[in-house]
């Protein structure tokens, strides 16, 4: 955790989850797991957030909401998909109102599997997300320094990170 020199703020949105993963996300913030001691704060405002935690899968009605929260977040930003529902639809994937995982709508950087995902796993996912965030920030810095060269490489990095998690 030596690279946790920044305190990311997270925003949470519940797609069509069963609540199981949601309350585990909230449990991360409360005394037992207490990520607030690292300065990780759950904010309601997308423009304040660095990391987007999505639980549950997407459907026709909420995909616009998910997309809009993502678009409002400032760069660099990281998306963490929590629970198997958010990864690929999980137990509900055959339901008529489920489009699949969150990655059908927005790019996902870290996948946290589990039904329900345990708080330890969620915290782990957020910490992984910090690594991705640092990479993205470095890529942005490089980009402003040397526009053409750095960009493709940085994107490659983030993709491998995502795949590893899946």
């Amino acid at each position: 955790m030596s690279y946790v020199t920044k305190s990311p703020w997270v925003i949470h949105y519940d797609g069509s989850s069963c609540n199981g993963c949601d309350i585990e996300v909230l449990a991360c913030l409360t005394p037992m797991y207490d990520v607030e001691r690292f300065g990780i704060i759950n904010t309601g405002n997308p423009k304040h957030a660095d990391i987007f935690l999505v639980t549950g899968s997407v459907n026709e009605q909420n995909k616009a909401v998910v997309k809009q929260i993502y678009d409002q977040m400032p760069e660099p930003k990281v998306v963490v998909a929590i629970g198997i529902c958010a990864n690929n639809g999980g137990i509900f994937r055959e339901c008529y109102n489920i489009m699949g995982g969150v990655d059908t709508v927005i790019p996902v950087d870290v996948y946290v599997p589990g039904c329900a995902a345990r708080p330890e796993a969620i915290i782990d996912g957020v910490v992984k997300g910090l690594g991705v965030l640092a990479e993205k920030r470095a890529a942005m810095d490089n980009k402003s320094a040397a526009p053409a060269a750095a960009e493709p490489k940085a994107e490659e990095n983030t993709e491998t990170e995502g795949k590893e998690e899946a």
Binding site: H12, Y13, D14, G15, S16, S17, C18, N19, G20, C21, D22, I23, E24, V25, L26, A27, T30, P31, M32, G44, G56, S57, N59, Q61, N62, V65, I69, I91, F92, E94, C95, Y96, N97, I98, C115, A116, R118
Partner: protein, 359 residues
């Protein structure tokens, strides 16, 4: 008369982790009308009966909601058992009752925390959730899961709890009592908390009956109604009496839930004393042929399960009606005429579970 303004509330908002959208029609600061719109979380899981066998449906129904997941698993299993004419062993009924009451304790503590968060008492929220973790530990110890258990199955339960662990459950809960009492006294006696709840969002007894309120919302308005009175599970042997408050305001609903917390501890202690020895499940053969209706008292109120099969391994229909669905008309009634600043508290006071409502 002021100008009318419409303020959209949700679906992404800080009071609730779940998405619900309300259009609040305001006249100055007063809410004059409310238009709820739902559908952000609808999955259509009842339709999965066509793709999942009836034994698998139990896990799907369990995942209607991660807070009352045990109750949903019980409801699904018991309605299928009813349709198949299966009698579940006494010990399984007791174990189900114990887990169900544990769910109620964790659910009510969770709700108290959210309420505290709703009126801006952050440390109280944290304390509620801290105590709740002890209950989750008991769940983890006995079922292996923290929020989704999959321990109920058609024909009984999947895991037994040995005598020592049963004793540990009742000891842990009884040892938590003073701490819970200290916490709940803040909700019941602190002047600034009472300012937010006493006399706010009054629902009269007549309205509660007419709008079909269920659970603590109905009981907080003086309606004598609780499905546990029908004696399902092991309740008939535990001597159950519902908790009733007359005032019908937020304070009364909070008080009902707080009294139920302690009652659940009593019920579990008693069940641990009375639990008979014996098998925990019966073998299940054949397919569902017939239909069955079952009612169960979830932490949020009456839930209703319907299972129908026609002799194949797939059910024809599995229908669930959940408590929050029943309480939304009461919520709309309470919201009309309240101040804008009270909206979060009032939404929380019915203990909404949107995952349940939309399924």
């Amino acid at each position: 008369m002021g100008k009318r303004t419409i303020i959209p509330f949700g679906p992404q908002h800080p009071v609730l982790p779940e998405p619900i959208h309300l259009d609040l029609v305001l006249e100055d600061e007063v809410v004059v009308d409310v238009i709820p719109s739902i559908g952000y979380i609808h999955r259509g899981l009842e339709k999965l009966v066509e793709k999942k066998e009836y034994t698998e449906m139990v896990y799907v129904i369990e995942r209607i909601c991660g807070i009352c997941s045990f109750g949903h698993g019980w409801g699904a299993s018991a309605s299928i058992e009813g349709a198949m004419g299966i009698e579940v062993p006494e010990r399984a009924e007791y174990l189900r009752t114990i887990w169900h009451e544990l769910s109620r304790i964790h659910s009510h503590l969770l709700w108290l925390g959210l309420l505290a968060d709703g009126f801006g008492f952050e440390s109280l929220f944290m304390h509620c959730w801290r105590i709740r973790e002890h209950v989750l530990d008991l769940f983890e110890k006995t079922t292996g899961g923290r929020v989704i258990f999959s321990v109920c199955k058609v024909g009984g339960v999947r895991k037994d709890i040995d005598a020592a662990t049963l004793k540990e459950i009742s000891d842990t809960l009884n040892a938590l009592k003073p701490e819970i009492k200290k916490l709940t006294d803040v909700f019941l006696e602190d002047a600034s908390v009472k300012n937010r709840t006493v006399g706010v969002g009054v629902l009269t007894k007549e309205d509660a009956i007419e709008l079909g309120a269920v659970g603590p919302v109905a009981r907080g308005s003086g309606v004598y109604q609780d499905i546990r009175l029908t004696g399902n599970g092991a309740y008939h042997e535990l001597g159950f009496e519902p908790m009733i408050e007359e005032a019908g305001d937020c304070y009364a609903r909070t008080k009902v839930r707080i009294r139920e917390l302690f009652q659940s501890i009593e019920l579990i202690t008693k069940a641990v004393e009375l639990i008979p020895e014996g098998p925990i499940d019966v073998p299940v053969k054949g397919n569902v042929d017939g239909e069955f209706v079952l009612r169960l008292e979830q932490p949020r109120g009456e839930a209703y399960y319907y299972a129908k099969g026609a002799g194949t391994k797939f059910l024809e229909r599995m229908r669930v009606r959940t408590p929050t669905n029943q309480n939304i008309p009461s919520l709309v009634k309470m919201l009309k005429g309240c101040d804008l600043a009270d909206v979060p508290i009032l939404v929380l006071t019915i203990d909404p579970c949107i995952s349940c409502t939309e399924r």
